[in-house]
Amino acid sequence: MPTQHTVRSFDKELNCLSKKIAEMGTHAVHMVERSIIAIVHDDKKLAKQVIADDIFLDEAERKIDEEAILIIARRQPMAVDLREIIGAIRISVDLERIGDMGKNIAKRTAILSDVRQADPFYHGLEAFAALALKQLNEVLDAYACCSLGRIDAVREHDDEIDSMYTSLFRELLTYMLEDPCNITVCTHLLFCAKNIERIGDHATNIAETVHYVITGIYPALERPKDDQTYRLGAGK
């Protein structure tokens, strides 16, 4: 099967797009990782760096948009090429949003520093972030090697994120019920948890896009949604 285009420069342009997505992916993962470290270890300097780093993803997303539009105008791509380009546009949007989530977490470092609590408060968030990032890394690997098998595995593990989010929600609620002084820190940690949960959603979006790029078909819309937090309250 010929894998190269007769016009070689077309291959170069497509490779350039996927390379940029890979760079964005690495950067987004790194941002989220460091935002969690900043929160957990009360590192305000690191938090500032993460916030400043976000511009890279904003610029990269715009660059991918511009290049994708140029390729469409220049090559009038069809079939798998067209899907790859549309896929790159979509994935770059998801990655840019993931960066925003990391930035949002990092921004809470300052206020949390003022109301510092004992380590166990942060363990849940740390583990939750690790799970979401594992998902994200797997999706990015699947994108890089066009692996349908890996994509399906990611989708199957999606509910783990939801159930972990629900249990973290419950845990933070308990801390708040124990002592109203915990409300500030727990509220901020809840927002961080929400951000992590959103990162999981973006990872799933990317998984669906990669599935479409490879097969030309979107995976079934219905997937089990285990986020139960909308039912949780202080009395329940």
């Binding site: 285009h5 007769t6 016009v7 791509p77 069809m78 079939a79 798998v80 067209l82 899907r83």
Partner: protein
């Protein structure tokens, strides 16, 4: 394909040999009424050969042999009882290079209806000529010079004149063999717009080398390669997620 759609023409195991050498190796393909089907594939794949079978244009090529069956409204067009001249009035053709007769614009269009006895009077013939030119989107551009020679028109206008000439004998199917390959983008756009209009009254099969054109004008696409039909399906599917690797390689420019 959608079962509500009526099959206008049908090729059944169509094989073509030129001087004993196989050019088509058994094509079975339906052409649906009031739809545009695009035939695509690399040069020499057999798409034009198949198109020419649909109104028996291969009969004019010495040493050409066609086997299998081609049905028009369920009747075999290769049946000995079929009048080929009448068949070609029902299944008209437009060629790659505009080829108006060296006569006036009016005569180019009037020629067909006249030899087929479609007009009883001069007034009726005038009406047919005018209507055909209107349908071909050319009337407004030529109404004041109907008696100028057809070859005085621009390339795009000449091609629309050829379409008017094909329409004038009230065909049911129009075959187009790369009708825009000699035209500029504006003239091409006009022909494509026309194809979309004509689809309401006619069934159209078009051979094109432009993937974008096939994607723009057709509802169905058939991909040919080395005398075989590789894949046929809804155009929207063929150009976004074709099933066959050869189709994918061809339309994305990875062939060979």
């Amino acid at each position: 394909m959608d079962s509500k759609l009526k099959i206008k023409m049908r090729g059944l195991d169509v094989k073509v040999f030129y001087g004993g050498k196989g050019a088509l190796h058994g094509i079975t393909l339906d052409i649906l009424e009031n739809k545009v089907i695009a035939l695509i594939g690399p040069s020499g794949c057999g798409k034009s050969t198949f198109l020419r079978c649909l109104n028996r244009m291969n009969d004019t090529i010495e040493g050409a042999l066609v086997t299998g069956r081609i049905l028009l409204d369920e009747e075999d067009i290769y049946d000995p009882s079929v009048d080929v001249v009448e068949l070609r009035a029902r299944v008209g053709m437009v060629f790659q290079k505009p080829n108006p007769f060296p006569k006036s614009i009016y005569e180019n269009v009037a020629y067909g209806p006249r030899i087929h006895g479609l007009a009883k009077s001069r007034t009726e013939l005038d009406e047919i000529v005018e209507q055909s030119l209107i349908k071909a989107g050319l009337f407004n551009e030529v109404k004041d010079r109907l008696h100028d020679v057809g070859t005085s028109l621009s390339g795009g206008q000449q091609q629309r004149l050829c379409i008017a000439r094909a329409i004038a004998v009230s065909p049911e199917v129009i075959l187009m063999d790369e009708p825009c390959s000699a035209l500029d983008p504006i003239a091409t756009a006009k022909i494509e717009e026309l194809i979309d209009d004509l689809r309401r009254n006619y069934t159209i099969a078009i051979v094109t080398h432009s993937m974008q054109q096939a994607a723009r004008v057709s509802q169905f696409t058939a991909m040919f390669h080395l005398g075989n039909l590789v894949e046929v399906g809804a155009t929207d599917t063929i150009f976004t997620s074709p099933q066959e690797q050869r189709t994918q390689d061809y339309i994305t420019g990875r062939f060979g």
